[in-house]
């Protein structure tokens, strides 16, 4: 069994303009690996939403993408404020993003639901005041 390929990115929390750069890079890397376009699209959209969330809410963080034989795994980790009520945060339309972010086209309360929708597995570990770790997987087969 071959070892999983992995990519690691630091997500800059200060710069909304550059948010999404890691996802763009991941999309390019997955294309080079010759993965199915639909799989690539699902991975990159889920990661992009997660990256935007880290910039909006957590002041940045670290994103890691692993390509295993059976799935692509995305791990997003931040040391932001954490999510107090995960069930509530998962509801479509629920958002704590400030108006400034809405005026930029995000903060509609669709980020986490979209991440779940595009992936086959999603797990959120979060502690208020400590941070959040999100693990997502998209099956390749």
């Amino acid at each position: 069994m071959s070892e999983a390929l992995s990519f690691r990115f630091s997500v800059d929390g200060e710069n909304f303009t550059s948010a999404g750069q890691a996802s763009v890079q991941v999309k390019k890397n997955l294309r080079q690996l010759g993965l199915d376009p639909e799989i690539i699209r699902r991975v990159s959209i889920a990661m992009y939403e997660g990256e935007i969330n880290m910039v909006i809410h957590a002041g940045g963080g670290v994103a890691e993408v692993k390509v295993a034989e059976e799935f692509v795994e995305i791990i997003l980790e931040d040391h932001g404020p954490g999510i107090a009520d995960i069930e509530q945060a998962m509801q479509a339309g629920f958002s704590t993003a400030p108006d400034k972010i809405r005026s930029l086209g995000f903060g509609a309360g669709m980020g986490l639901p979209n991440m779940k929708r595009y992936t086959d597995y999603m797990d959120i570990e979060s502690k208020v005041g400590e941070g959040t770790r999100i693990t997502m997987r998209v099956n390749i087969t």
Binding site: A19, I45, E49, M110, R117
Partner: protein, 120 residues
């Protein structure tokens, strides 16, 4: 519908991807909220938006869209234009408002009926 037809119907200016005006578009989406755009995958879609920032280009790129139309005379920044060129997107700008622009394309035959659920 060909992108050059969209350009004609909306009396739009071409800001990026002039050489790709012959490409086809099969569905459309009009929104200023990028997360709403990201919620449903469409085939070779065009995005109509009044929002101007780099995330519009990234959203279109993530969704494998082929064209973005800026409505209400909005003009993208040089950075957005260069990002669009890099990712092979066509950028158009029209003076028409969102409702009118969407209506013109819809009556022109670009009916957004090709939405498919993301998780298959």
């Amino acid at each position: 519908m060909k992108i050059c037809t969209i350009k004609e119907l909306l009396d739009a200016r071409v800001l990026a991807g002039e050489e790709r005006l012959g490409n086809h578009v099969y569905s459309a989406c009009g929104s200023d909220m990028m997360s709403d755009v990201l919620a449903y995958v469409k085939d070779q879609a065009v995005l109509l938006t009044g929002l101007v920032n780099t995330q519009v280009i990234r959203t279109a790129e993530m969704m494998d869209m082929v064209c973005v139309v800026f409505v209400r005379s909005k003009t993208p920044t040089p950075e957005m234009i260069s990002l669009a060129e890099e990712s092979g997107l066509v950028l158009l700008a029209t003076d028409k408002r969102m409702y009118e622009a969407c209506g013109i394309l819809y009556s022109g035959g670009l009916v957004s009926n090709k939405v498919k659920k993301a998780t298959v």
